[in-house]
Assembly symmetry: C2
Homo-oligomer: 312 residues x 2
């Protein structure tokens, strides 16, 4: 079942209590696709400038199941750049600078051959752009969007329109409150369900995630990580692990294809796959850990995580 | 397997965003014992003044498996009183007042017939007092202590002595960092293991709990509660559910009796029982919800919680 992600390619400079990394590969699309690629093919739709180092392109191409034919390299344009510094406890960060570059230009074009994509992830960007991207995939079976405080505050009408059209929304704990005015994340997510989606995933970083679905309510802890080097991309690699699993499961059970959305049970497993993927990603800067990650390591940690939760 | 808890009986006045309750029954011993009583017998060792209303004594006696013969009512003394106000997000609170009363006097006497207790929970109080209590139970198979920032800051030497003698420590997320200087809770707990205990339970309130055990590493989410009325006693009812389960499991499998401590698997299940118990406790002020709680409700929510975590 073809999976596509629309989002950003970035050049990041990151300071964490563990060290720093300069001008490394980042971006929501990158982290998502690298994570999803462990489950099967993933198509990316994104734009970068011609300042994107070959080395970074090489990292994207390192993942054999990423289809990068929807990555536009624009001559004379600049790649999106972000600099951030994490606080001591890693759960808060300050943005040092943001250089929009190509993100201030027209959105990337979607290759015609991507139009049959059935699993669609709209990584965080302006909701009007997300809405345009969404409509480019008429065969979608499951469309999930991410968003952020900026759009909740500045593009609420467009965000509301988007929410009415997607199957699922992924957002942070604080953003769920900001969007709904409700302190309790379960109550906030139930409010969001009334706005359109059939499920909401509330990301809580080191505290795990919540699944609020029309069919049920779930919660998972984060994998208890002992050393966190860089939390950048944790949310996107979580989403990539989640959507990659769902697309692969959809491919295995094409009989369910007629139905839109995803079941509560499938989503809860997908959240667990996202959790484990994110736990690897935060072990190093940029895509370094995912690049070195072996299938056996991923399977072993997933089995350990699932085993840890098997109480009776 | 006899279970005993040493701790406080309190008269609380609590303000939360959901309302307030005046001069209601509280105290670590009370919440712990009410929770543990759902699993089997529990003995309490605590002191109160003769100002403790009959109604509050009646609440304690309402739980048929609580043995209150170790509850000293001291003539002319005052019961410990605490007033607190929770912030909007319920995860922080301000103490409005603390009136120590009997807590400033000699510790309660332990009835001789309690000396055969095998499961011992030392609820939060001065570690020197906890150490004295601990030695009163020579037949202990599993001794677990709770502590708080106050003792970490003011009675570190006594706390270190206590840690060298208990099997387990239960403490809050922030306290684990305060005790060890380590930001990461898993790293902090591993440090605590070196100080004596064979396991540490890190309580994270609405974000669940971590189990750091010599034999393994576990994490559980909180039960995704939609409405929290009063978080007071959540930690103590968590500990009560946990220890009550372990004592009951010990009674069912007396063959394990020769060995001190508890296995990783048993503790993880015990944490789940604590989690579910705490999720009921926070649904109302004081002991109101636990008093009304039916066995079937408890079993049903436990099954739901365990089912929610059964991924594969």
């Amino acid at each position: 079942m073809p999976l596509v992600v629309t989002g950003t390619i970035g050049i990041d400079t990151v300071y964490t209590p563990s060290g720093h990394a300069e001008s490394v590969l980042g971006g929501s699309c990158t982290y998502f696709a690298a994570a999803a690629s462990f489950h099967g093919p993933v198509r990316i739709v994104a734009a970068a400038g011609d300042d994107l180092p070959d080395e970074h392109l090489g990292t994207i191409r390192h993942f054999p199941t990423i289809d990068a034919s929807g990555l536009e390299i624009r001559k004379g344009s600049k790649t999106f750049r972000w600099g951030g510094k994490y606080h001591d406890n890693m759960d808060r960060r300050d943005t040092l600078y943001t250089e929009l570059g190509v993100l201030a230009e027209a959105p990337p074009k979607i290759p015609d051959r991507f139009r049959d994509s059935e699993f669609v992830f709209l990584a965080n960007t302006h909701p009007a752009v997300q809405l345009g991207m969404l409509e480019a995939f008429p065969h979608r079976r499951l469309a999930v969007a991410d968003t952020m405080d900026l759009w909740i505050n500045t593009a609420r009408a467009e965000l509301d329109k988007l929410l009415a059209r997607v199957d699922g929304l992924v957002l942070n704990y604080d953003e769920a409150e900001l969007l709904t005015g409700k302190r309790n994340p379960v109550a906030a997510a139930r409010h969001i369900l009334e706005m359109g989606p059939s499920f909401v995933v509330v990301k809580k970083g080191e505290h795990g995630s919540l699944l609020i679905h029309r069919e049920g309510l779930g919660a998972l802890p984060a994998y208890p990580a002992e050393q966190v080097v860089d939390p950048t991309g944790a949310g996107d690699s979580f989403a990539g692990g989640m959507m990659g699993f769902l697309a692969a499961a959809g491919a295995k059970h094409p009989g369910n294809g007629s139905r839109r959305g995803a079941s509560f049970e499938a989503l809860l497993r997908a959240l667990a796959h996202g959790t484990v993927m994110a736990s690897f990603n935060i072990e190093s800067f940029s895509l370094n850990r995912l690049r070195a990650l072996k299938r056996e390591e991923l399977d072993a940690r997933y089995a350990q995580f699932a085993g840890m939760l098997r109480i009776h």
